[in-house]
Amino acid sequence: MPALNGFLWLLVCWLAGELIVHFTGMPISSGVIGMLILCAALALRGGVPDSLAAAAQPLIALLAMLIMPGVTGVFFMIDQLAGQWAAIMTGLIVGTLLSVITTLWLLKRLMQDDHAE
């Protein structure tokens, strides 16, 4: 089972992230630190070992399922957030429209400048 080998590496990176968070007190989640450690390790090694790909790919494919229990919780909070839904939805929808316009406009300009040089 090469996937087990790869899975152990993922766990080791995550645990290393936990230790770093514990000792430095940085307000960052250990998963993100583990992700950066993994990326750096792959860059140093110069390639993705098969065992790691065998563990990482199925986990990434299943991310949607892993967050389902959390998402379900929002449907049980509908009463708890009464009176705030208009603020939440407007913030999210109008906010996303504005940030989409910003990203596209800015990147279009920056890439034109880059090509012009």
């Binding site: 995550w14 989640s29 986990l59 949607a64 913030g91 940030s99 596209l104 880059d114």
Partner: protein, 237 residues
Amino acid sequence: MLSESIIQRLTATPLFAVALTLAAYLIAMAVLKRIGSPPWLPAILLATLTLTGALALSGINYTTYQDGAKWLTVLLGPATVALGMPLYQQLPRIRQLWRPLAICLPVSASLAVVYALGIAWLMGASHEVINSLAAKSVTAPIAMGITRQLGGNVSLLLGALLVTGVAAIMFVSLVARLMGITDERLIGFALGVNGHALGTVRAFEIGSTAGAFASLGMSLTGIFTALLLPLAWRLVG
């Protein structure tokens, strides 16, 4: 509604919650395959509605379910680490376009937070709601970590991610058309930065270049926000 004794028997181990989650997920996937995956209905939304329906019908309360489902959610830790693999595979693209990306990403990722929170705050959202919405453009596993750091509610955050993802998919295609943008790299990057994993899935439907740039945008937004948002929160709060 199931009787109390049956519920107690079934939920004595985490296996019932796991089975229920797997079943809802697989049913949603099968339905989506049938109806051809419309972009306004992400798999996670349909799967979650199915699961919520099953919980409501069987009369199992959410806390009991959530306890059992920890068996699955604990895998989010290693799954987040696993994202380091596609990130490594994106590195050549970062080198190729590092200058525009280095300017655009911090501006876009910060403004995405500022716009949404500014509007919600002006409309009177509570402190807890603001903390829960802050990571709304970040891919779920990273965003959950950020939200715990900020003291927000993870379920509300995940709901916010769904709304943001669907909105980003619609707005990117609309705004790109209005601005006359056809470059797949731009459209993909905008989908990843604003619409996290949902936007990235959509970008892969447009094409593999768009998909690659979307996953790049998604990873960079996740890292940037995870590193800076909790620090910014400490300074402001």
